[in-house]
């Protein structure tokens, strides 16, 4: 039986389909991310309830803190599933460019993060009485999520190989993700406060550049990250 080598795209999509099918059956990862996000929003809501001015000014920060922590939970779990039963070796044994594995995992992780965001945003809007459904803000959330997941998936593949992986991922990820989180908070805040587009343009550009860099880096380095 002669098998053609699968294309990069087919291998990537096979991983995405597998991850989505497994997650929609077990709901382990999504439920953990969702419960965590809603709890964070509630805690901040009660903590900032008395001071309306402060609450308005920190809305974007609270939103991105929630997304970042929930995203970290998802990233850790998504790679742990592969590592714990040796499935990462199963992926690495496939005759495909190993960056296809990275992009497959990254797209799955991004899908999980976006699902959580789609559920969290209306709740956040109601609790904080803010209209978050602005096209510009939604674009910032998408770009910020792409950047966070792009770097997070790469670092999760590294940290999952350590004994202290649960602690290691945030330690590695948060310093590297500072630019994307700061730019996301600044751009989100600009949209929420009705700032001029010129003011928002700089953080938006930073988000786009960050996303491009951390989509390109794994193409070159993912193989070295996962190989002994």
């Amino acid at each position: 039986m002669k098998n053609p080598t699968p294309s990069f795209f087919k291998a990537m999509m096979a991983i995405v389909r597998k991850d989505l099918a497994a997650e929609f059956r077990s709901r382990e990862l999504l439920s953990a991310m969702l419960v965590f996000s809603l709890l964070v929003i509630l805690i901040f809501n009660f903590a900032l309830e008395l001071d309306v001015k402060v609450r308005e000014s920190v809305t974007a920060g609270v939103l991105w803190t929630t997304f970042a922590f929930a995203g970290t939970l998802g990233l850790n779990r998504s790679m742990a599933v592969e590592k714990d039963r040796g499935c990462m070796d199963g992926l690495l044994l496939a005759p495909v460019d190993r960056s296809a594995i990275y992009f497959g995992k990254a797209i799955s992780n991004l899908a999980f993060m976006l699902i959580v965001e789609i559920i969290v945003l209306p709740v956040y809007s109601m609790l904080y009485n803010i209209n978050l459904f602005q096209p510009g803000l939604l674009l910032v959330i998408l770009l910020g999520s792409i950047g966070y997941i792009a770097v997070g998936t790469l670092l999760a593949a590294m940290s999952v190989q350590t004994r202290t992986r649960d602690v290691m991922l945030p330690i590695l990820l948060f310093p590297v993700a500072i630019p994307v989180l700061l730019a996301s908070v600044k751009a989100s805040s600009g949209y929420l406060n009705g700032a001029d587009f010129a003011e928002i343009l700089a953080p938006l550009n930073l988000l786009i550049v960050y996303d491009l860099i951390f989509i390109a880096v794994p193409l070159m380095f993912f193989e070295h990250v996962v190989e002994e």
Binding site: N3, P6, A22, L93, A94, P95
Partner: protein
């Protein structure tokens, strides 16, 4: 890249593997003819798993040459992986997917075209067709290991590597695995298996290599062991 074709399906020359300051493999020279079933035996920490991981392109050699199915590692790793099936003591299966979904996923990763037919063939071979639609999380350890072999042969590889496949299996499951291994080998595939179970290795393999402290210290074909048994050969090699 063009190289002269080797007569061996697997060949390593002066293979060295270091992890930091620790040298695990110290110049391993090893070769396997097409269709041979080699049992790679040795005590814990001898370097058997590391050696198989290098053959499987999961680990890079620090020094030396490795050729599998006439492709050099690590330069032609993707070509090697297309011809290689690997079974370890971990099943490499997703518990939240069914047996069919697991095989379908791996069939897609190997670019298999007639996926449905191939999955039916493989499930028949490992005796799990009746559990096709069941989640892997409901399988016993023995069934998972049989499905793991199905996963490893889904792309009909020329070379199979088994790393301690009997770990954690009870007597019945081990006997079933014996049958599956025999059927895998009967198709003319080249097999390398590491094991601590000398009786099973003696029953299945056609050649026995002993790896100790990072080097192959002895090698014998099945017919050469007629006058002595494998245990005596093994002990003699380890103690020498």
């Amino acid at each position: 890249m063009v190289h002269s074709k080797s007569n061996f399906m697997i060949e390593t020359k002066k293979l060295v593997k270091r992890f930091g300051l620790k040298i695990v493999l110290r110049g391993v020279d090893f070769s396997v003819q097409p269709g041979e079933f080699v049992a790679l035996l040795g005590p814990n920490g001898a370097g058997k798993t590391t050696f198989l991981r290098i053959l499987a392109s999961l680990s890079r050699p620090s020094l030396g040459e490795v050729t599998v199915a006439n492709h050099k590692l690590p330069d032609e790793a993707a070509k090697v992986r297309a011809k290689l099936g690997v079974v370890s003591h971990l099943p490499l299966l997703y518990p939240d997917l069914t047996a069919e979904e697991n095989l379908l996923f791996y069939a897609r990763m190997y670019g298999i075209e007639e996926q449905e037919n191939r999955i039916t063939e493989v499930l028949d071979m490992v005796g799990l067709e009746h559990r096709r639609k069941d989640l892997v999380s409901t399988f016993s350890r023995g069934m998972q290991q049989r499905l793991a072999i199905g996963r490893a042969v889904v792309h009909d590889p020329e070379v199979m590597l088994f790393d301690e496949p009997y770990t954690g299996l009870d007597q019945d499951a081990s006997e079933m695995l014996d049958d599956v291994l025999r059927s895998v080998a009967a198709k003319g595939r080249t097999v390398v298996m590491t094991s601590h179970d000398l009786a099973r290795a003696e029953d299945l393999a056609t050649r026995f290599d002993i790896l100790s402290r990072g080097v192959i210290v002895a090698s014998a074909k099945q017919e050469e062991l007629k006058k002595t048994n494998l245990l005596a050969f093994y002990k003699g090699a380890i103690e020498s």
